[in-house]
């Protein structure tokens, strides 16, 4: 391939200038004449039957627009995978903060009082709040068995390994809920017009998810539903499915009132009512030979899905596929289960099930190392997947990945051996104990299994008369760099200056469905389609005799203008096609789970102060193989940001639950890392071999969420010699465990 002219360069972020000048328009910065403000009356109990809704006489209700479940023109559901979640509760509530009634008024200041004046009487029903309570099934709160989904991955004859094993190591590991905590809360504006139908502008990741949900809810055909993504202030998965709910609410109010309606959540509402990372429990039982080789094992992975199915089946899928980590398992049985509890539904958050199951795997490897009597480094090295071997789903590793080499480099970068020796010496004295921890992991890019085939994403590229090129995709920018990277790819494919390429605003009236902006699929999967569509433009022009094989931007412009004069427009579309030889069995959960995996070794250095019991990460090395790095500054930013969220997941971010409701739904009491809490996060890339995808790029966004929590907890165990199997790991947990250890 010829030398890349734009790929691999840190060009300026497309919408960057507007962001640093304050000119970027987010949803709360927009307003329409005659606009009303909407608000949501929510359930105050976890489960029960609504007996009566009454409106307090202190409010002049004639000034308000109200919408109840009975007034929904279409189906009362948030259409996604299943249709079990209502848009407004009708008779029964299944979690705290479940939407029941909508209000709108021209003055947003009066809404809070109005919400408080709506009295809802319930007949409470018994509720369940934990995985264990749900499994007991003494209360059936969903379906016939409280189970949203199960998966089974089976490879080889795992039942025969136990008698052959020199060691059998068991462990149970848990992870807590985590709030996405994008700094911009959820928000939308909806407007209705009898001719045009409904239009929704919003802070969201997936315009076509919202489009699908609004068609069902509003009973409108596709062409009378329009969804436009505006500048979005962070998402991390938290704006994957929930925007369909808030968009639905605003749409219902707009249809009833005939006026534009804006709904912007405040922080408390956003934190208590919207989705979080699924809490999880993982049980491992592993058979090993005397030299520390894995013979086989069983993994039971269970997640708490909250009250409705929403995305839990897909989160579970990614969790079970990643549960075996980057290791070779001659035989394995992975069982996955997503169960119902009476909490708001848990949803997408960067990593999507993998951070949970990989936390367990990487803690368990350190446990295995202790039992077998090897170092955490050596146990991993002996079990790493190698090219030609198969994963737990029997996908053959075709990439020339060398995890041993990656591990060596991470150890060198972190000065692992020298520090390990020094800390062992120094920890003898003084209250501050230091330790080193490793995590090795992988993350599959794109939708799982046949997912990309079902999505069949489409991207368009348009040549304009002025010689500029426009990328048409529903893939959204929410900080990660979609706009920039997709324009870079088009510029490279067309050999045009980056400044000549721009990307259309994601608007379902204007752009094809390039799939949701999730699953680390944008650069790799959508990027490949941008490249194909861009090449299509070039081919159209050369085939028509309007352009030579090599050309200047000026010649390109002349050719575009000629083509448009003759044919009206110059557009090229590319649709995803499954590569040859890719096999996936949805029933047996076997085959090519992902087109490619990104690989990583993270090393954490942690200090625990035994006078305060607080743990602090002092150094963090994040080394990864993500194929070709398309934009070094953006890629580094993705990794450092993901690591920071991972450090929060490990040490700071604790959702306090009471009867299914988050009790600390404020930034004051839900603690995310600040600028003084984080170590220097040192990011390194290793590029190995060729991969599929646009110019060799793999998915990158979610990977960095997977490694920090196990690396940090491994380091804390290394520092203290005390076992910890749960995150978040707070000072009080460390105090408790160390005190218990001391008493033993």
């Amino acid at each position: 391939m010829k030398e890349a002219h734009i790929i691999g360069k840190s060009v300026q972020r497309k919408e960057g200038r507007d962001k640093v000048t304050g000119a970027a328009r987010y949803i709360d910065d927009m307003s329409f004449p005659g606009m009303l403000y909407g608000a949501t009356v929510r359930s105050q109990i976890p489960r029960g039957v609504i007996q009566k809704i009454s409106f307090g006489s202190q409010i002049d209700w004639s000034e308000f627009v109200t919408v109840t479940a009975k007034e929904i023109p279409g189906k009362n559901c948030i259409a996604l995978i299943g249709d079990d979640q209502s848009c407004l509760a009708d008779g029964l509530v299944n979690h705290p903060e479940e939407p029941i009634l909508l209000l709108a008024h021209a003055d947003r200041h009066v809404l809070r009082k109005a919400i408080e004046a709506v009295l809802i009487e319930y007949e409470p029903l018994p509720a369940v709040f934990t995985i264990e309570e749900s499994e007991l099934r003494s209360q059936i709160i969903w379906g016939t068995d409280n189970t949203f989904k199960t998966f089974l991955i089976a490879k080889g004859d795992v039942d025969s390994v136990w008698t052959k094993a020199d060691y059998i190591v068991e462990g149970e590991y848990t992870t807590g809920a985590q709030e996405q905590l994008y700094i911009e809360n959820n928000g939308v504006i909806a407007a209705f017009d009898a001719e045009q139908g409904i239009t929704v502008w919003g802070s969201l990741q997936c315009p076509y998810y919202v489009h699908k949900a609004l068609m069902a809810l509003c009973n409108l055909p596709a062409e009378r539903v329009r969804v436009v993504q505006v500048e979005t202030g962070g998402a991390f998965g938290g704006k994957e499915d929930y925007p369909s709910m808030i968009a639905g609410h605003a749409a219902l109010l707009a249809m009833k009132s005939g006026r534009p309606v804006k709904i912007i959540y405040d922080r408390l509402e956003d934190m208590t009512a919207t989705t979080k990372r699924h809490p999880s429990r993982t049980r491992h039982r592993t058979a090993l030979s005397k030299d520390g080789k894995i013979l086989g094992g069983e993994i039971d992975f269970t997640i708490d899905g909250g009250a409705y199915a929403t995305l839990s089946s897909v989160v579970l899928s990614r969790g079970v596929i990643h549960a075996g980590g980057p290791y070779y398992w001659p035989s394995i049985r992975v069982r996955g289960k997503a169960v119902a509890t009476n909490a708001p539904p848990h949803g997408a958050f960067r990593g999507f099930g993998a951070p949970q199951s990989l936390f367990a795997m990487e803690r368990h490897m350190d446990r295995i190392a202790q039992v077998v009597g090897l170092s955490p480094v050596e146990i991993r090295r002996r079990n790493f997947l190698k090219p030609g071997q198969t994963t737990t789903t029997e996908q053959t590793v075709r990439e020339e990945i060398d995890l041993g080499k990656l591990l060596d480099r991470a150890l060198e970068l972190s000065d692992y051996a020298a520090k390990n020796a020094r800390f062992a010496r120094e920890n003898e004295a003084g209250p501050v104990k230091r330790g080193m921890g490793i995590a090795a992991f992988l993350h599959g890019a794109g939708f799982t299994g046949s997912g990309e085939r079902y999505l069949a994403s489409v991207v368009g590229v348009e040549g304009c008369a002025d010689g500029r090129v426009r990328v048409l995709a529903s893939s959204t920018e929410f900080g990660q760099g979609t706009n920039t990277v997709l324009c870079q790819i088009a510029a490279e494919a067309l050999n045009l200056p980056y400044d000549h390429i721009h990307i259309a605003q994601p608007d379902t009236n204007q752009v094809p469905n390039s799939g949701p902006t999730v699953a680390s699929r944008t650069a790799m999967v959508v990027g490949s389609l941008v490249r194909s569509a861009a090449i299509g433009i070039r081919q159209t022009l050369t085939a028509g005799g309007m352009l030579n094989d090599s050309y200047s931007p000026a010649e390109f412009q002349v050719a575009c203008r000629r083509h448009i004069a003759e044919h009206g427009e110059l557009r090229s579309y590319a649709r995803y096609e499954t590569p040859e030889g890719v096999f996936w069995d949805d029933q047996k959960y076997r085959g090519e789970a992902y087109a490619t995996f990104a690989w990583a070794i993270y090393v954490a250095q942690v200090a625990v102060d035994l006078s305060t019991y607080s743990a602090r990460v002092q150094d963090f090395v994040a080394l990864q193989e993500v194929g070709r790095v398309l934009h070094p500054v953006l890629a580094k930013g993705q990794i450092a940001g993901g690591v920071a969220q991972g450090i929060g997941f490990a040490l700071y971010e604790n959702v306090v639950w009471q009867n299914g409701r988050m009790q600390n739904g404020q930034m004051t009491n839900y603690i995310m890392p600040t600028s003084v809490d984080l170590p220097e996060i040192r990011v390194f890339f290793e590029e190995m071999g060729d991969v599929q995808g646009a110019y060799g790029a793999k998915g990158i966004g979610e990977l960095p969420m997977d490694g920090p929590a196990p690396a940090i907890v491994n380091a804390i165990e290394d520092a203290l010699g005390t076992r910890f199997d749960s995150v978040p790991l707070l000072p009080e947990d460390i105090f408790e465990a160390v005190s218990t250890d001391g008493r033993r």
Binding site: R13, G16, E184, G479, G637, G641, S675
Partner: protein, 164 residues
């Protein structure tokens, strides 16, 4: 903020915003944040939490960084305010804005205005800050995207570029 404050009626507020004298009619207890966004149309100042934790609504009041969500409008009477809209000189970005762009200091952009104003205050006080100075100065401004590293890089780059 609610029915009662509406009954109290609005009063006049005179202040200087980004070098320009402004007079607006406000509720006395209205948040400065809302006055900036709704009365003056300066939507570059963002709301993240509404309780002074996240720093997205940071502005400079007489050169001092404040969370505009915690400042009652009348407290801003007669003050000199600087918001993100006042940082660039016309089309010319400030050194900090350029550095944020080049170093990856802005991802989703929602914390960026507040971050830039907090950095502005730091560089005013300390033109050649250490890494620890930068960490400390930005500790009241939360960013969920970057992990802060590229923001630190941006502030350091701007400090090194500025003449002194």
């Amino acid at each position: 903020m609610n029915n009662t404050s509406e009954n109290l009626g609005k009063c006049e507020l005179a202040l200087t915003v980004n070098g320009k004298p402004e007079t607006v009619r406000v509720y006395p207890m209205e948040r400065l944040l809302d006055v900036l966004r709704h009365e003056l149309g300066l939507t570059g100042t963002k709301e993240g939490c509404g309780e002074g934790e996240c720093g997205s609504c940071s502005v400079l009041m007489n050169g001092k960084l404040v969370n505009s969500c915690l400042v009652p409008a009348l407290q801003a009477a007669g003050t000199n305010l600087m918001t993100i809209e006042g940082i660039a000189r016309g089309p010319q970005l400030s050194a900090l804005q350029t550095a944020f762009l080049e170093c990856g200091g802005a991802q989703c952009g929602i914390c960026t205005p507040g971050m830039i104003l907090a950095s502005c205050q730091l560089l005013d006080k300390k033109p050649k800050p250490t890494w620890d100075d930068i960490r400390e100065a930005l500790s009241g401004n939360l960013c969920r995207c970057t992990g802060y590293m590229q923001i630190f890089d941006a502030v350091m780059a701007a400090a090194q570029r500025s003449p002194e």
